[in-house]
Amino acid sequence: MTLAFWRVLGLGLGVCVAAIELHAHHELSSEYDEKKPVTLKGVVSNVEWSDPHVYVFVDVPGPAADNVTTWEVEFASPIDLKKAGWTRDFAQVGETITAEGSEARDGSKRAAGKVLILAGGKKLQEPADAQLVPPRARERKPTPRLPDGHPRLGPVPGETGYWSYPTASTLVENSANIKTDSEGLLKNLSDADKVAPFQPWAKGLYLYRQRTLLKDDPMASCLPPGGPRQFQTRYGFGVLEQPERQRIFFMSAGGNRNWRLVYLDGRKLPSGDDVTPTYFGYSVGQWEGDTLVLHTTGFNERFWFTNGGLPHTEKLTLTERFSRPDFNTLKYEVTVDDPGAYTRTWSGGWTLQWVAEELPEYFCQDNDQDPRHMVGK
């Protein structure tokens, strides 16, 4: 693969640069204010080691001896903390610790933790950027193939693996040079017109969601990430191919182990009342050379189909193209056709990296406490 190819690919897919920073199943800034740093020294009263976040409850003494306030300090998920060397028993109830972080926007006694200093002086930190970058591919290998010659999008027999680390954090129209954070929050709101050809109401709603720091994101309430968002959600997705049954499954990890079924048996898309709107819609597909082309319709309006809060309607149909130019790379391109929200069809996409590990287990519902505290600006 030549350097020129990748340059063209990068431009063609839209250079939506996402600073890789710690993020969760929601935009952290909608809940915590980085401009309000807080240092809490106290005694650990509880530790919750669960998804989507690890919580440390700290009893912080006040000015009076009998005046104790319990603070709830939120850290990343166990999956991310493990990458930074944390273990399930990192702190003990009764241990005196110091936590540094940012205060909650809603005034509650909660903080987004950044650093935890244990009784013995050991310092634990939120995973650094470097710890969250994709693992480097060990070797260059050619595209694996199914017995029928088509590219294999899942793991080869006897191996494990999944796709993650998308090169874009949100879907934007091809060639748009837009900077966002890891949840699709624009660095510059004036870039909104470059994101997609919005209808006026859709642009207004998109800007509202951006200005309120994505506080109403349905995924923060653990609802499924339909559409392209399934392929940009944290912790990646697996592909289960069943050529003998002419179907394929896309299985989310960060999307709460939801799966999406795609029929490859030549059936037609249903229309009108024949389809009940769902989060993942109804998908059919076929191979065009080495590219798997999917057509999907039948989406409901209860989710955001990409990070960043781009609206859609039930009129949304997607054409998605998947190709695997080499063993470690998946190229994803999508054309959005939604005459209810956009003035014309538009396209975007990104690439993903192969991770030769088992798909991690992640259930947002396990201990989701965020939505009621996400107040935005």
Binding site: P200, W201, G204, H312
Partner: protein, 128 residues
């Protein structure tokens, strides 16, 4: 106790309702318009069918199709017009202007002024 349990269940279920994330006016809305001396219940059903919002006021035997329903997403103001009949059965033109609030919530609201013929009042709608 049973009532308390029932209410807890209802409130819990309401809190877990998935939002409607498409066009902000789409859906069923209920509320009332009122003057200093009168209150009138309202039920709106609206659906975005690009490029228009279509809908009905008080679906049923006294339904009034929305002739005009617009949303200005730069300031979230709405404008409705409909023709119906008043309580005496006389034709009446309705004009309502309001503002959409709490947009990201399933139970978003519209509040504003309601004019029905020569009568002026205020209205509030909450999305069901």
């Amino acid at each position: 106790m049973k009532i308390a349990l029932f209410l807890a269940c209802v409130l819990g279920c309401a809190a877990a309702l998935p939002a409607q994330e498409g066009h902000p006016l789409t859906g069923s809305w209920h509320g009332e318009w009122h003057t200093a001396s009168e209150k009138h219940p309202l039920l709106f059903y609206m659906k975005w069918n690009s490029p228009n919002v279509e809908g009905t006021i008080n679906p049923g035997p006294h339904a009034m199709p929305l002739k005009v329903a617009t949303l200005d997403a730069t300031n979230w103001t709405v404008h409705f017009e409909a023709d119906g009949k008043d309580q005496a059965g006389n034709p009446v033109h309705i004009v309502a202007d309001g503002k959409l609030e709490n947009i990201g919530s399933y139970n978003r609201t519209i509040t504003g002024t309601w004019t029905e013929g020569a009568i002026k009042g205020d209205f509030k709608l909450t999305r069901d």
